[in-house]
Subunit: 370 residues, 2 copies
């Protein structure tokens, strides 16, 4: 789930741990991989030496999807190193709603938080981009980031016949792959600087798995192909211009497992040289909660009605930014409404195969002493 | 200026350091005492030992009124200890607009910021109350807080014949003084825990000076007496009930210099025992920028029109909370509008003597080794 989606989808959480369906998939992605982080701490075997132990969630959105995992992990660290003060640092970009992060973590919302269950714990936020150093060098012990690194720092050109790089080809695709490589290595180099020797990174990101699957493309209808086709329909109907279609591109790069792991396999790579080593990699598919529900209730109209808003929550900004600013705002809004209405009608008419299954690559990285 | 006022009044700042008048007084309060902090750093004489140096602004609101001072101070620290990473931590309550803080400090607004002028600097936020530990014990080097400690953690009862404790008497006043003492000592004890040995606190707070002056009461019309009288007029006119008048009380305690300094003069006080020592105390009056302008332009209607909104920005919540929730919201809003309209009419008719001059007590505190 994109950062926008994680926030926008956070409609409510009831006492027992109920999340809105729009967020539960992103939360499952993290929760079900918590053991990977606990195992990394086991290997890290931190010294009980009284110095601060710092963990971070980089690209945290409202902090809600990671809160169960962070609580579990910090309790384990507290158990292992009772003498060490714990610092938990939530990071995202300056426009993120950090007040919501703090309200969630400080127990001022319905979200179940860990803050009163762990002593000697200090919670902070940072709005420094993860493409820069976030911490004094060598002071981060455990860095976590989920579903944030697919956003690239700039669009390296247009994709003329599709809306997402997963549907691009040739030089257009290469440009997105290359931007993805640059951003990935830059992010990793800055974490290599942040991390203390023996520190770990847990990076769970959208990617393309060994079978070529990715978000919304796991065997049935391809979500990004559907986005692209419906957008092309608007062009063919004269609703938008050819130029607007060309300009509609997600500023994202989905990396293959090969691309995620390349900096750790090449001993000459600056990331390897900076001391980062891969300890673990795997990919997983987490099922779309709306499609799972549809199998139960079988109501196509209901499925379409519930499913489209979660797609819209993280994709609308991209479709809006493709439209010419010469159009009045109301006209742009009407085009976007028509676009998502067409997607809903499509799903309602032929629901089978539609699903935004999550496909993540899970990496555990160690920082070795220089 | 209250935190609310500092935020609400932040209308704009142009390139060369122009602030809206609603904030310039609060900014002057800080800027003109910057030398006290620089002198404290001189005495502190921090070691250039490569460890992180941590500064904080506790009760920062949007970070705008302190940004010039923080930049000056951090540049001086950088000059003295080039090997030490600098951490700047902005704290306030969870509902504070931390996104605005980060946008201001990261240079995404018109506010002139220091962030790109100081290397090896890391900016964070915390939403932990300053009545609790904010940092791992012994890791804060320089704590700053301005115009925040007059808010008390709870209202210790009503003030039956006034709206603010400065106009209260007898047991009612004593209750506010006592709550002020408890909160002050609790805040200081938590800072004694946060501070590194040799660390310093710079605390600039609303108070009552040696001549009995306080915010809005420096010889002319008394602002809080005016608030109280106009509120009583509404009661006498039957607009609000006697109970509503009684329930309208600022949750604030203004301390005298004697009260501010008591924990440092009594060697048996827990604050003294925890290692805090007073290095410097002084009081100052910073002139109301609206009254200063009025002396220039002489236009009473303009003065009244410009002056009341800044009072309203930080006092409205108190007057709103005194009204019965049995009244519809629109009715409450109409009463509040009428209240401030009456204040504006009063100033327009007889402008002389109205002024919200700032009266602060400036304390510099040292943490000595245990």
């Amino acid at each position: 789930m994109s950062k926008t989606a994680a926030t926008a989808g956070f409609m409510s959480m009831k006492g027992g741990g109920y999340y809105s369906k729009a967020t539960i998939g992103a939360k499952h992605t993290i929760d079900r991989a918590t053991h990977l982080i606990l195992e990394a701490i086991e290997r890290m075997d931190p010294a009980d030496d009284g110095t601060p132990f710092t963990m971070s969630d980089m690209g945290c959105a409202d902090g809600g999807t990671s809160v169960s995992m962070v609580g579990t992990v910090l309790k384990e660290v507290r158990r292992r190193v009772p003498s060490r003060p714990l610092q938990m640092v939530y990071t995202d970009l300056p426009r993120n709603d950090f007040s919501q992060v703090f309200q969630n973590i400080h127990g001022q919302t319905d979200i179940e938080t860990y803050i009163d269950e762990i002593d000697d714990l200090y919670v902070f936020a940072s709005a420094t981009s993860f493409h820069k150093p976030i911490f004094p060098a060598g002071t981060l012990n455990l860095g976590f980031s989920a579903t944030a690194s697919h956003y690239i720092s700039e669009k390296p050109g247009v994709i003329s016949d599709h809306v997402h790089m997963v549907g691009a080809s040739g030089a257009e695709r290469e440009a997105y792959v290359e931007q993805g490589r640059l951003d990935w290595e830059r992010m990793l180099l800055n974490r290599a600087r942040d991390l203390a020797p023996g520190g770990r990174l847990a990076l769970f990101n959208f990617g393309i798995d060994e079978e070529g699957r990715y978000l919304g493309s796991t065997g049935g209808a391809d979500m990004f192909d559907t986005f692209s086709r419906l957008c092309a329909d608007l062009r063919d109907q004269g609703v938008i211009t050819a130029e607007e279609f060309v300009n509609t591109n997600f500023p994202q790069s989905y990396r293959t497992v090969e691309q995620f792991t390349a900096p750790f396999r090449d001993t000459a790579n600056p990331v390897y040289q900076a001391g980062l080593r891969m300890e673990h990699v795997e990919t997983r598919v987490v099922a779309c909660p709306f499609a799972v529900d549809f199998k139960e209730h079988g109501d196509a109209a209901r499925f379409a009605h519930e499913y489209i808003p979660t797609l819209r929550s993280w994709s609308e900004a991209t479709f809006a930014s493709g439209l010419s600013t010469a159009r009045p705002v109301e006209e742009r809004q009407a085009i976007i409404d028509r676009f998502y209405d067409s997607y809903e009608a499509l799903v309602r008419g032929a629901p089978d195969g539609h699903a935004m299954d999550y496909v993540h690559c899970y990496l555990i990285i160690e920082k070795v002493a220089a």
